[in-house]
Symmetry: C2
Subunit: 369 residues, 2 copies
């Protein structure tokens, strides 16, 4: 049987584990997999674009496990009461090709994006960072705030969104979470004095959520919202002046903030920093930028994590047949009452041994049961 | 909610519908989709190869529905009591990107392969064909026999396999199915006098299941087993002498029998024949060859068919969250008892309206429920 983890299971798991503890554990899996980055089979996502959105398949494999995420992006969905992004994932055993787990990943994608941001910031931000500015209070915002609290010790979040109701939602959701939350009147007010700046807006074009005048020496920038061609959040001069870190560079060149700079603009892949193969932040005054677009290995780590976490509590689904004789697939479906009747009425007079090349009579015998 | 169709559901559906009736209905869906071939977004499958097998993703979309099949091929699996090929599929709504159906496709792939073969033969074989030779009595064999009976009126099947136990299984499974089944002592004996020859062997190399001396004028050849690079069933001279019909030629050039002939060898795509854009069989003496490797549109048709067939009986799974406010994903997971307690103890003194940019105190309020 294949394991199934639905949205209800993930909610229950988060309540049992605690969201910050879940994020911390997930970050450990992501960091471990980034450190062995070179052992993965990687591919750019396979996208199907339509008028209102995109459906993408994101596979990754380490030779033992194969993960695949199905994810959509449909900005107009919210007007119809639906989510912009939904996702589910599959984990399969490479040795047999059998799917072992099917899981919701709408909630998990939000968690893994935040956990990856925190993994990057832990390697790139100044260690004494305590204040984060958060520009954009949409679906990703609370997850970012909690991940940075849990993994970096962020104490204060200064939040700004052009939609005050989004900020209301953010404040309500994080009331009691142990963060000092400041509603800022503008992006500039939020960013002033912050150690880390996270942008997670739904900007659909070449937006300038941050401009160069807002950026102070030593800041770490965590740019989440720019994640497809033509969609960026930062003024290009910010990108050009920062030490830029990516997930999978071929994909980031197309989808990330570095769309705005020449194709040979130097970047460092995050895994290289985590594996000790490249420098991260080189001084307290440097501006570091994590140009995040999301990558399949993060989903691989997430599916691996929830499978390990939830072993005891998951449901089974009959996604793959379990056969007595793996060479007899038809036997699985041939148990028709009609045929059973025919077979019963003829079984006395003939068996399959009675069939031969010279026989011209219709063959009869017992159906497999 | 997303619909789920497991292997048990497909078995029940087949028993309720009847396998031949199911194949006939499925063939209608496949033929209808092949006729509008040009309206589909098509892509070669995305394969992940490993030591013991391959995992493939096969997407297709017609602009309204998006289908994706996950399928593996692991020849060594049978030694461990597992299937060589398993599969499952997903149907999604292109307008919203939401997955609407997850279905087993191990059984469905066997059915759709047979239905596609019969669709091709109905367009390419001589209309008076009544006798089929079947070389290879593996997992696909019974499905082929029933599809050709149901769609072409095949009355006699002459079966040969190098493994006598596979033939035993075939005869047992099709006892009472209304076919005259002849056990042949060799491929040559099976083929002699047949109108249609189906090869569905598990040949792993450049096999010559059929040689030119066996082929008589007017035969239709249905080559199923050669379906990946380096795996073919027919002597190249047979391919060179036949009118060859393919599914999606870029894929067949790599995976089909036409690997063995030059890359500019002329072929006709089956959809062109079905849509009236190209000739099928041009004379009673011509040798026609359907060089089948399987294509994503067949899986698309199959998922569309089972969704329509099974509307009333399927189960729902919580693969995608259903939110009151689609902009508040975090609200779905924030219903922690701990937070509810904190909120209850502070709700009297503060609401979210009390939060402001100038407030330095931790924000409090009721969590969303």
């Amino acid at each position: 049987m294949t394991q199934f983890i639905g949205t209800g299971d993930i909610r229950a798991l988060l309540h049992a584990t605690g969201i910050e503890e879940f994020l911390t554990g997930l970050a450990g899996y992501i960091e471990a997999d980034f450190r062995r980055w070179e052992s993965f089979e990687k591919a750019a996502r396979l996208a199907s674009h339509s008028r209102d959105g995109v459906i993408e398949l994101m596979p990754a494999s380490d030779g033992d496990l194969y993960a695949m995420k199905f994810v959509n992006g449909h900005p107009k969905n919210t007007a119809a009461g639906k989510l912009t992004v939904t996702a589910f994932g599959v984990l399969a055993d490479v040795a047999t090709g059998y799917p072992v787990l099917v899981s919701e990943m709408t909630i998990l994608t939000a968690l893994r994006t935040a956990a990856t941001s925190a993994v990057a910031a832990r390697a790139l931000a100044r260690p004494d960072s305590r204040v984060m500015a958060l520009i954009g209070a949409g679906a990703q915002s609370e997850f970012q705030a909690l991940a940075f609290k849990a993994l970096l010790g962020i104490e204060e979040v200064r939040v700004f969104d052009i939609d005050p109701e989004a900020v209301d939602k953010f404040c309500l959701n994080l009331a009691g979470a142990g963060l000092r939350i400041i509603r800022a009147g503008s992006a500039a007010e939020a960013v002033r004095g912050a150690d880390i700046v996270t942008t997670c807006t739904a900007a659909k074009t070449r937006a300038h959520v941050l401009t160069p005048d807002l950026i102070a020496p030593g800041m770490h920038l965590n740019a989440i919202g720019g994640d497809c061609p033509g969609k960026t959040e930062l003024h290009p001069d910010i990108v050009a002046s920062a030490a830029v870190f990516t997930e999978y560079t071929p994909q980031t060149r197309i989808e990330g903030e570095i769309q705005q700079v020449p194709a040979d603009f130097p970047v460092t892949e995050l895994w290289q920093v985590l594996a000790g193969k490249a420098a991260g932040r080189r001084s307290a005054n440097e501006i570091t930028l994590f140009d995040s677009v999301g990558f399949a290995i993060e989903d691989f780590s997430t599916l691996r994590y929830v499978r390990d976490l939830s072993q005891a509590s998951v449901r089974d689904i009959d996604l793959v047949p379990d056969l007595d004789d793996p060479k007899d697939l038809f036997g699985l479906v041939a148990q028709s009452p009609k045929w059973a009747t025919i077979a019963a009425s003829t079984a006395a007079g003939s068996t399959h041994q009675g069939l031969s090349p010279s026989s011209a009579a219709p063959s009869v015998g017992s159906p497999k049961t």
